[in-house]
Amino acid sequence: MSRRREFLLTLPPLAWMMAFFAIPAGLVILMAFRPSDLRGGVGEGWSLETLKALAEAEYLPVVWRTVWMSALTMVICVSLALPMAFHTVRVAETWRRWLLLLIVVPFLTNFIIRIFAWKTLLHPEGTLTQFLIRCGLVAEDVMLLNNAGAVLLVLVYTQLPFAILTIFAAAEKFEFHLLDAARDLGASPWQAFVRVFVPGVRRGILSACVMVFVCSLGQYVVPQFVGGPTDEMLANKITQRAFGDRNLPHASALAACLMLAVLVPLLIKAIVSRLSEKEVPP
């Protein structure tokens, strides 16, 4: 009876995810082993040609840039999110509600609109560029848009609320008396923060790191709209292969690479959290 009930309850969501998530993902991986024909369609038979083509020099800098940009975004986001979460947890209840609302609003604002907002600010005739020129901080002919800096800035802008909310969730459970104890024992505020608070929320930090890194890896809208032609990330190449040259096997092979790149940090996180569970004091 219970077995049948379990089956009936599980079937609809399981079947849906199987059909529209697992099978399509498997299809992409299979497609990476098909050759592409000259007209850009999917060729007959099976081959390793497409995978071999990935080793081309063209892709290596793109992969490197993708990893590098995501790592940089991760570091900046987490180092801003830590003090912010720290502050948000410690202010009075009413203030905290307001702060959380203010963190959530940019997070929920439409993604495309946030990118558009930065595009207009960084535009040569945009407010920020004009402001910086008037302050004498940058040269008249400065180009703030279409470079790696702009991509990094907007990546941080879109991922930062994620990092803050994740670390905030961990900081809420932190015993703040420990900080007072550290201060009583002679630690400076900085020492107390780095040696008591940071280790205390390390799980939150780890989750935030993995979250931001993984989400940045697959970005393609940000480089497309605010980056230049030399700032493309892996996902941009995938869209070009899929839509530009209609070369699905090639796009699939790149997508399979991206899948691997996403799974590695997740595995690391799973292993680290399993290890830290073991070392919990008795």
Partner: protein, 256 residues
């Protein structure tokens, strides 16, 4: 004991960083200048133009339709999934849990691309139905997580009490379980609704010609010359986001 003021300074700086671009959008939506570098006087004309832009309102109605239908479907599937995951332990649930959590970390582009390949392989025509399928697929996981969080706090002895008082399993579920879980289910649905309205990447892959959702429309307008109209549209969207978020906070406070 003296507290360092550095964390509050960082917080302030980050909030300025968060809101400066949004505030500038709102200001520029009333600016007569086309590019918004300088203030050239107050105007309503961009809002008037937006009002007359039929292609924007068509996209808006498509977005709303997709969001309503997908969030309701995701709410039903997600609640079932959360309940099954919470109540049963078996190999089937291990597989189930993996299938439900993986989409949370799968980059949008991979999901869009794999669904496109899937639809092409089956020969399905791209359109509203494919957008709906795609949106439900990425929303289910989020709804499941929210409802699962609620279930962990749920007192299951209440169900036993209902059964002891003579309710059938079905009545107990309908009169006790679902009403008590409703805030969580609705919160999940609201999240799904927001995600569906927000999505650009996956929709870009699976929408055929002629089914343009609002984010797709805005993205194509960004390449054109109608920039001030996007300012006006963005202002309206930011205002509604703010109202919805404030409302959600209110609701949460009442049920917390």
């Amino acid at each position: 004991m003296k507290r360092s003021c550095l964390p509050s300074l960082v917080t302030l700086a980050v909030l300025v960083f968060f809101f400066a671009p949004l505030v500038m959008l709102v200001v520029n939506s009333f600016n007569a200048s086309r590019f918004g570098g300088e203030w050239e006087g107050f105007t309503w004309q961009w809002y008037e133009r937006l009002w007359d832009a039929e292609e924007v309102w068509d996209a808006f109605s498509i977005t709303l339709k997709v969001a309503v239908v997908s969030s309701i479907t995701a709410m039903v599937l997600g609640t079932l999934a959360a309940y099954a995951l919470h109540c049963f332990r078996s190999w089937l649930q291990n597989l189930h849990s993996m299938l439900v959590t993986l989409p949370l970390v799968m980059p949008d582009i991979l999901m869009g691309m794999s669904l496109l390949a899937f639809f092409l392989a089956l020969g399905v025509e791209l359109g509203m139905a494919t957008i709906w399928i795609a949106h439900v697929t990425f929303c289910v996981s989020f709804v499941t997580m929210v409802v699962l969080g609620r279930l962990q706090d749920f007192d299951f002895t209440l169900l036993d009490a209902a059964r002891d008082l003579g309710a059938s399993p079905r009545v107990a579920a309908g009169k006790v379980l679902v009403p008590l879980l409703l805030p969580g289910i609705l919160a999940g649905g609201l999240l799904a609704f927001t995600l569906s309205i927000d999505d650009y990447v996956i929709t870009f892959f699976v929408s055929g010609p002629g089914n343009t959702t609002l984010p797709l429309r805005v993205a194509s307008m960004m390449k054109g010359r109608n920039l001030p109209m996007i300012h006006a549209l963005s202002t309206l969207m930011i205002a509604s986001t703010f109202l919805l978020a404030a409302l959600a906070f209110r609701l949460q406070r009442r049920y917390a």
